[in-house]
Symmetry: C2
Subunit: 369 residues, 2 copies
Amino acid sequence: MMMMMHNGSRNLWKKMCLKPRILYLYSTNSLSTTLLNNSLRILGPDLPEIWIPNPSSPSRPPITHRSPFIFNHQEQTAAVIDGKMMADEIRSEIANEVSRMKNEIGKVPGLAVVLVGERKDSQIYVRKKIAACEEVGIMSLMTELPEDCTENEVLDAVSSYNVDPAVHGILVQLPLPQHMNEEKILNDVSLEKDVDGFHPVNMGNLAMTGRDPLFIPCTPKGCIELLLRSNVEIMGKKVVVIGRSNIAGLPTSLLLQRHHATVSVVHAFTKNPEKITREADIVISAAGVANLVRGHWLKPGAIVIDVGTNPVEDPDSESGYTLTGDVCYEEAIKVASAITPVPGGVGPMTIAMLLSNTLDSAKRAYRFT
Amino acid sequence: MMMMMHNGSRNLWKKMCLKPRILYLYSTNSLSTTLLNNSLRILGPDLPEIWIPNPSSPSRPPITHRSPFIFNHQEQTAAVIDGKMMADEIRSEIANEVSRMKNEIGKVPGLAVVLVGERKDSQIYVRKKIAACEEVGIMSLMTELPEDCTENEVLDAVSSYNVDPAVHGILVQLPLPQHMNEEKILNDVSLEKDVDGFHPVNMGNLAMTGRDPLFIPCTPKGCIELLLRSNVEIMGKKVVVIGRSNIAGLPTSLLLQRHHATVSVVHAFTKNPEKITREADIVISAAGVANLVRGHWLKPGAIVIDVGTNPVEDPDSESGYTLTGDVCYEEAIKVASAITPVPGGVGPMTIAMLLSNTLDSAKRAYRFT
């Protein structure tokens, strides 16, 4: 059944075995508990993603009020990748295209937003998206439903937008209330209008070589745009993606792999994430943990894209909080060669990519080139 | 637009930039070439996966005829993970379940195979799969079509199996002839009968946290079974997957991530794959390159799963060739703590997982528990 010789070091193997002293790798005893109908076992345990800070990390410098563009010149080595400026340019390109479409065929792209409940952050995001649409000439529609509405009411809203020819993109603002089946609702969005790219068919086609998704999720698309427009070479580079959420980390790692980077995904169960991250030429952090990535996590000269937008208490701020990235910016700028600020980095690019996906969808629908 | 200070080392950054001397990360000049309608650019260049051996590698020992179970005891340190034996056991469990199903509800699972063309290797694989079905009591059906048949003939075969209630799994043997659209044909297989797990919805749901695919592709499922049944802990371990094909490398990396491993994917564009692989606790090689992974690629004590089945010329063999893995076995057994042989490792498990998926599908269809 198995052969095992004892003249080599077996320390690693011992550490890796749940039963370190077993002699047979294949124990028939374990079979009865690991028989058929075991798809859950094969799919792996469903565990919460909780990041535990390394207690041996040096203490962080105090958070100070700062503009990302004002630094101590003595210490900064990193170039700042200005996502807001890039997004402004992209939005202006989109506005030109929308205007050309309107002039030539008398149509404009349409985005429909479904917002359920009264979450403050969701309301702010939706307001920003709708304002961005207006600015470039994309028509926007919105359905607001109360927190206690039924799943069917949400599905009805999605269905009516699915068949509305003036709507080219449908966005269901996440998170949905607990009592709703997010998967069912997102799967109901027409593939051709899935501008968020969260439908499993789009995700599967993003993952598979030789397949092309109709839409790339906005945050990963924004990250890649930031890199490409900054002339950062991706092919063959070691990239560490921190975090593996369905909306950011996962599709970003899939997209980077399509660009032929060598991708490692670091998550809450990764042992010694600093060490792995320190080997990366490019670090993309989407963990959703404020100041997780410290200066000593980075290789000198690394490129850092910070997807995190984490609210951190700040009594001096009017709202009571400040938005902070995953990356400890004050430390990282002394080590990295280029970095995105928060705010003003990935965030504006994400909204620009939503507009870009909506425009692409309308062009496809009207066969407008 | 961007700030750049010059008091730090910028060597890495320079190496990574296509235009190393630009001062602005965000150059408006590049905009005109990287404007809208750029989904191909964002999706990354479509390049062939060609592995180039490292010329500085030590020369390989001559290939000798060998049984995986006979070695020089002085040198071997690795335990052999016997996939054939595990697969035999699983097949016997499946046979029991099929028999119970037949006794209790008078039904058996059914697998339909579509084979196009006269490729010898495809014919051998299909014959093996059908023989394996017969052995466990799964009914098998087969449609053989000539190399020059039309895509519609293949689609018709798939459609008729899609609606046949006695068929619970449909397998389109790959590769299909060049003139056919593989994507279109695979997407046509009913999701509920996609026992190969190659439908983008299944792949997307495998990738996404909190989603469950109806079927897990057979080779990755076999690899995980090998690890789980060998009591190898996966969570938190560093795993390197070599290769990123849609049928093996990609879904294996996705499945390992669901088991909370820290996964790095190595491919033909990876620089210094030896170095990255040498850091892994578990190495799964699915590159399709004979003897790519040398002894010095492995950390002492690593677990090695070899997915490769590469035909290598062998004048002493009746067929003229021998099947060889991706891993240089003679070298690896001296370094690894456990390893799968080729043949007799992943191969038999892949077929067992096809039977397991077909059984699961029939149970789902008949609501049989």
